[in-house]
């Protein structure tokens, strides 16, 4: 997609890290979702998670390709995905957490796609036209993802006593990691100032409104606010990302320079 548009270099020092935060978020969540393939609770769900993972992979690939073109140092999508080390990955910690049981996977995936659902419309007026175009395409996909995950949030939250207990436990575990999505830092401030993307306050408002309604219908309680802050978007990750990358990158790195 970015090939159709004129790439005129990076718009400031926050531009590349911002694109990588978005791309890495989609890639690492896809990598987690595809671990479910062949192991889901019902065949239709294997197909649904694979579908969502395919969309997320597509988003990551467009964003990496665009980031590489803007950066102008010859990095392609695979250079970003396979040849960066853990600390160069800028995904929020939320998406690298292990899948846990199906409840934990549902809550984590819902939390992130609901965030993307507020993000893509705001990016459609970005001063980076290729990013705006990627956002427009991705928003259509994310709308389906949100609908699918909302369905499971409600069904499992308001299903049986066991499913409710599992969902509440998952929510208590996962929810504190969502604060990072809305934490202001030099990148988000610069992005908002340059018109590249929305403010974190705008995103927080969108996300909180949408998720509160779903949690209420699902008869689930968000845990009370905590001072905990994850820092994946700064390149400081949990114990889990290293293993994700080790597995993802192993074959490629064993054959430097090879084509696949």
């Amino acid at each position: 997609m970015s090939g159709d548009l004129v790439d005129t270099g990076l718009l400031g020092p926050a531009h590349l890290p911002y694109l990588l935060r978005l791309a890495d978020g989609s890639l690492i969540l896809a990598q987690r979702l595809l671990e479910w393939c062949g192991h889901g609770p019902v065949l239709e769900q294997d197909i649904a998670f694979a579908n969502i993972a395919l969309d997320l992979l597509g988003q990551a690939r467009l964003l990496y390709t665009h980031a590489g073109a803007r950066e102008g140092r010859g990095r392609d999508e695979d250079a970003f995905a396979y040849w960066r080390d853990e600390q160069a990955f800028l995904n929020p910690t939320l998406v690298e957490l292990p899948n846990g049981d199906f409840a934990q996977s549902v809550v984590r995936t819902y939390a992130y796609v609901a965030y993307q659902h507020g993000l893509w419309p705001a990016l459609q007026t970005s001063t980076d036209p290729a990013l705006a175009a990627i956002a427009a395409k991705s928003h259509k996909e994310t709308s389906y993802h949100v609908e699918h995950l909302e369905g499971w949030m409600i069904r499992l939250g308001d299903g049986t006593a066991e499913s409710h207990t599992r969902m509440q436990r998952a929510l208590d575990l996962v929810w504190p990691y969502t604060t990072e999505l809305f934490t202001e830092d030099t990148v988000t401030l610069a992005v908002a100032a340059d018109g590249l993307g929305p403010t974190t306050a705008h995103l927080a408002e969108q996300w909180t409104g949408a998720t509160q309604a779903v949690l209420a219908t699902a008869t689930l309680q968000a845990p009370p606010p905590s001072p905990f802050r994850s820092t994946g978007q700064q390149g400081r990750h949990s114990d889990h990302l290293g293993y994700v990358l080790l597995e993802m990158q192993a074959l490629t790195r064993a054959h430097p320079g090879a084509r696949w």
Partner: protein, 342 residues
Amino acid sequence: MYTQSMDVPSDEVSASPALSDAEASATFDARCARGEFIEAKDWMPAPYRQTLVRQISQHAHSEIVGMLPEGNWLTRAPSLKRKTILLAKVQDEGGHGLYLYAAAETLGTSRDDLIAALHSGRAKYSSIFNYPTPTWADIGVIGWLVDGAAIMNQVPLCRCSYGPYARAMIRICREESFHQRQGFDLLHTLMQGTAAQQAMVQDAVNRWWWPVLMMFGPPDQDSPHAETSVKWGIKRISNDDLRQKFVDAIVEQAAVLGVTLPDPGLKWNAARGAHDFSPIDWTEFWQVVNGHGPCNRERLAARVAAYDEGAWVREAALAYADKQAARQAAAVTPATERRSPP
């Protein structure tokens, strides 16, 4: 001819309750002989139904178990493009499983019953999925040879006498031929690559060649269900004929790739107009079919674990659906009628 016959009204046999079993059976055989499609509501002999349930469910189980050996490389695919292709392919296999379970359900057996038969070991799946996938080249070879053999087996099923199965097979065959080309493309890229990549391909071909030839099933003289399956239009080409057709096609493709097929006895026989090949070791085939292949236990264990660990999810979804139905019923029922009796 076959698509036309799909539209032919089937009153002749649907009216069969009035006929004696012998008459219904004769009419049924005549329809099969004319190449007509049999549909779900048509009268059919019990053994025809049983044969189809066995074959379609076995096919469905193969698609689902077949997701596992390829799924083994989803997290490790060496480029984002290959990861995308592989994930889309494995997802397609899940879709094939769904159409096929649905086709089997038209014969009156539920998906739950079919899955229970798989998990208890009563139902089989294709033995080929009991082999491991230790290298990335295995993913290419599964596409090229395993899907290639599956297509060879399945294209004749698009003309199978049972309509729902035949229609599912048309769609499946289209997707499988796409998968086969993707597998070939993967291998072709590796064969243009480094010495290590080329060696990876040759090793994978060496391991898969004989198990793939076994996918066509035992030699014709040892095929227990063949004769009636041919009469009823469930099977149209014999195991040995399909196997020969496959070998002849693959020899040329192997030459294009630059890989050697691991059979010193493989050579062109001008008199027959076909390739001769060495005898197949059927001991290995029967060992794997009977549960002693390299991965039988872990494949089935993975399926059983997914099902058991997902039980609470399925129960919750049903409980929620019941609650919703009760809420909707309550919402449309006037309050006076909802009062409990005194």
